[in-house]
Each structure stands twice: as C-alpha cells, then as structure tokens.
Amino acid sequence: MTVPDHHDDEVVPELAGLQLADRPDGPGAAMMISAGIGIFVLGFLTVLAEKSTGANTWLAKWQWGKGVGALAGKTTLASAAYVISLVVLWVVWRAKNVNLKSAFYAGLALGILGAIATYPTFFQKFAP
C-alpha cells in the first residue's frame, strides 16, 4: 500500500513559497475509513435493534434516564467507533504512505452500507 512521496511544489509552483514538507497519507486514510466505520456501526446497530428486542433493550440502557431510548446506544457506540477507529488508525499509520484511493473507496463502501441500513424501509424489514 505504499505510494511515491509527493513533491507538491513541483506540481503547483504557488506552493514553493510556502516551503511545505511532504506529509504521509496514513492519517488521511484514517480520516476517510473511520467516517465509514462510524456510519456502518450506526446502520448495523439500527438493524440489530429492530431485529432483536434484547439488543434494543441493551442499547436503551445507554440513555442514562434521559428518555432517548435505543437511539442513545446506537449513536453513542457509533460515535465511539468513529473516534476510536480514527485515533487507532491515525497512530498506526502516522508515518506510512497508505493508498488514499483504496482508503476512500473502503470508507465509501462502509458508509453506503451504513446509510442503507438507516433507511426505514430497509431496517423495518427486520422487525420480528
């Protein structure tokens, strides 16, 4: 997954005056994939809560008495998945040049799957 170093000031002369150092693409890939992971987890938990009464009840425990219901667990866990995957991938890939296109398409695929799973006509099909 290694790509050549960028020398952006050779491509765009306006950048030469800014004397910018090249940066590895690993953190950029982490940002792209983590957004997809967050949306995917949100969609997965939405379907799970619809299908399983037990899961719905467990997800509702995350509301801390605020009356949010299972949405509390779905959104809290999806947010946690987003933040944790972002931090972990960023740290792991901080000095690496990861293929950004692969990362973007992976994040896009996860995001589309997650978005479909949050569509009521889809997830309500899983109701018992």
Binding site: H6, M31, G43, A72, L100
Partner: protein, 188 residues
C-alpha cells in the same frame, strides 16, 4: 412574543445551529472547489486557508452540536409515550398536548394520515443525521492536515468535497424532515 423552553431548544437545534451549518457548508464548498492551481497566489493561498479551516471547523462543530441537542434534549420530548397504547388522550386534538406527545399525535392519525411522518420521516432523520458529524469532522481534519497541499492533489480535494457533500446530504434529510414534522406536530 414568547417561546417556551422546549420551543427555544427546538429553535436552537434546528434553526440556529442549522443555519450556521448551512452557511459554513456554502463557504467551505466554495473555498475548497476553487482551491486549484493558477487560481490563487502564494499569498492568496495563505489567506484562503485560514477561512477554510474556520469554515470546516464551524461546520464540524455545528454538526456535532446539532445532533447532540437533537438526540439528547429535543428528541425525548418528541417521543414521550403519554397517550397510552391506543393514543386515547390524543382524541379530538389538532396539535400535540401535555397528554399527547408529538410522536403519539402523529401515530394516532387523529389529524389526518400522519403516522408515516413518524414511521418513515422521524425514523430516518433520527438515524441518518448522525452521519453528518462523522463526515464533516473527517473532512475538516483532511483540510487541516493537508492544508495548501490540497491545491496540488485534485483527486484528494474531490474526495474531501464528496465527504463534505455526503455529510450535508445527511443533514438535509435531518433538517427537512425535522422542519416538516415540527409543522405537523410541533414541540411546545
């Protein structure tokens, strides 16, 4: 001229934060779209980037604030189950009341064919809107991390724009259904 506490929070959630998000989106999209070789000088790049960081930062922050206030403050008032399983306390009402929450009111169909506003509109809005902060934050971090280097990388710039627009689309679903549902069954 008076707003109840609940109406004030509904305004903060939908109108204030939503407007800020919309303004920030317009600026961020225009700024990033025109971040191309030949269109900006070195000095122009430095000036442009400050506005881009601000626009993307405001967008990410307002996206989080919008979904958090919506889910944790406004939504519990919307979904409270007050009217009983058969929505008997909604009978004869033209608007939700202290005995018939907006959700009860919509599902009761006492004011026309309104149940789908909850079953489809609210169910979609409350979930998909959470994609907005994830995408907006990642787009903000990409702009912050690469900065002026985005000028030399059109594919990366376009990928960032797609994430920005994806987040906006999720926010539009949330915002549009929120506005319509609050028309039919306002929180008060």
């Amino acid at each position: 001229m008076e707003l109840t506490s609940r109406e004030t929070w509904a305004v903060i959630h939908g109108l204030v934060l939503g407007t800020l998000y919309l303004l920030a989106f317009g600026g961020a999209l225009a700024g990033l779209w025109s971040l191309r070789p030949g269109l900006v000088t070195t000095a122009g790049l430095q000036e442009r980037m400050k506005r881009l960081y601000l626009g993307f930062g405001v967008m990410a922050a307002t996206a989080w604030l919008t979904v958090i206030t919506g889910t944790w403050i406004v939504y519990p008032w919307y979904r409270a189950k007050l009217a009983g399983a058969d929505f008997a306390k909604c009978t004869g009402l033209e608007l939700p009341s202290s005995a018939c929450s907006p959700r009860d009111f919509l599902l009761s169909d006492v004011s026309g064919d309104t149940a789908r506003w909850h079953e489809f509109g609210m169910e979609w809005k409350e979930h998909v809107a959470w994609a907005a902060p994830f995408l907006a934050t990642s787009a903000f971090l990409l702009v912050l991390y690469y900065g002026p280097r985005l000028t030399a990388r059109p594919w990366l710039r376009m990928a960032t724009i797609l994430m920005l627009v994806g987040g906006f689309a999720a926010a539009v679903v949330g915002g549009a259904f929120g506005a319509f549902i609050n028309k039919v069954a306002p929180i008060s």
